[in-house]
């Protein structure tokens, strides 16, 4: 089975899906970071402001991971197994980063 190269309809579909994920991630994390920062500046550091900023940062770091996960689903749905495998590898590499982060965390 020959796999087509450039396919405009499929590219546009991917572009739309990934754009939505990125936009949502950035907006949600910016709101959490902004609120948390505003609270910490006006009321001083508290559990709420620190919590909001932590949630914002975690959402920010999770956005590219979510974007890769959506790519895996998209390429799987399109039965484009070459790109399905490539995006799975990227997702595994990001997961390895999370494992490394946890290892460093317990060491301290």
């Amino acid at each position: 089975m020959s796999r087509p190269g450039y396919d405009q309809a499929r590219e546009e579909r991917i572009e739309e899906r990934l754009g939505t994920v990125l936009r949502l991630g950035v907006r949600a994390s910016s709101v959490a970071l902004g609120l948390g920062l505003l609270l910490s500046l006006t009321l001083g550091n508290g559990a709420l402001s620190t919590g909001l900023m932590t949630v914002g940062l975690v959402m920010l770091m999770a956005t590219p991971v979510a974007r890769v996960a959506v790519s895996v689903f998209e390429y799987g749905a399109q039965r484009d197994w070459t790109f399905f495998m490539l995006t799975v590898i990227v997702l595994l590499e990001l997961c390895a980063g999370i494992v490394a982060a946890l290892l460093f965390h317990t060491r301290l």
């Binding site: 190269g5 450039y6 405009q8 936009r23 950035v26 948390g36 900023m53 956005t63 974007r67």
Partner: protein
């Protein structure tokens, strides 16, 4: 680790805005300006500066790529292929950064910025050549509407192994120094791999989110990321890059490149000086 005070938060918010604006104007991320400012200006350990900068890289990558939806400038297929290499590079860089000597990191930063400055100067008068519009793009090529050429342009990707190598190195440098790594990928993709400059920059901006996420997760786990300062830097860079993208679209490419090279040499000299102390 620096103590978080309201004035420090405001300084970093302002620095993020300037770095984001300058970075977006020049078509690179703000990290290359933010890291030296935090390390040299504010006296932070380079790890803490890199951790803050990496979170701003994720923010810039996500918002710029989301904003490009519909322009077809981002080559997703090429991006997904190169991400395999860049994520591996940044993973390795993030782990080695935890064990590396502070002065060695500063010297690497000085060398990388000087090398990028020289590359920029050497390409000062080179314009990218765009191929015709009926070309078979191959498995990884792309097509987009190019305003300067007044029509649809197509391109093929050449020397994929070289692009993979450059992406691996870019990922590695990204995690070690807290920059996006586009300064390495974009010139290589453009000069040797046949990708038009605007497509190379857009695809690189799309990829650096994954690169920076892999690196910043490790810094975060190691407790080197200060939430309030990262929040201020991310919001500042977002605001600054929105303005910078508009300015950059209007300014002449030649003067931008010249300005970029001068700033890079200055940063390089300062970093080298600091590594000797």
């Amino acid at each position: 680790m620096p103590v978080v005070t309201p004035s420090l938060v405001f300084i970093i918010l302002a620095a993020g805005t300037v770095a984001g604006g300058l970075g977006a104007t020049l078509g690179i991320g703000g990290g290359i300006f933010l890291v030296p400012f935090l390390a040299l200006g504010m006296g932070m350990p380079i790890g803490a500066a890199a951790a803050i900068s990496l979170t701003t890289v994720i923010g810039t990558s996500s918002s710029v790529s989301a904003g490009r939806s519909g322009s077809r400038l981002i080559n997703y297929r090429l991006g997904m292929v190169l991400e395999v290499a860049t994520a591996a590079g940044s993973l390795l860089g993030g782990i080695t950064a935890q064990y590396m000597n502070q002065h060695a990191l500063e010297q690497i930063f000085a060398m990388v910025t000087a090398a990028v400055g020289i590359t920029t100067l050497s390409r000062l008068n080179k314009r990218n050549i765009v191929v015709g519009d009926t070309l078979d793009c191959g498995a990884l090529g792309g097509r987009f509407e190019d305003g300067e050429s007044g029509g649809v342009v197509s391109y093929r990707v050449k020397r994929v192994p070289l692009a993979l190598c450059a992406s691996f190195i870019a990922g590695n440098v990204s995690s070690l120094l807290g920059i996006g790594g586009g300064v390495i990928k974009v010139p290589v993709l453009n000069a040797w791999c046949g990708v038009p400059l605007r497509a190379a920059a857009a695809t690189s901006a799309f990829m650096i989110g994954v690169t920076a996420a892999a690196g910043s997760i490790i810094y975060y786990g190691n407790g080197q990321l200060i939430p309030a300062l990262a929040a201020a830097a991310v919001l500042g860079v977002q605001a600054g890059s929105t303005v910078g993208l508009r300015v950059g679209a209007r300014a002449s490419a030649r003067s931008l490149k010249l300005l970029l090279a001068l700033v890079l040499f200055a940063v390089s000299a300062l970093m080298f000086y600091r590594s000797l102390q």
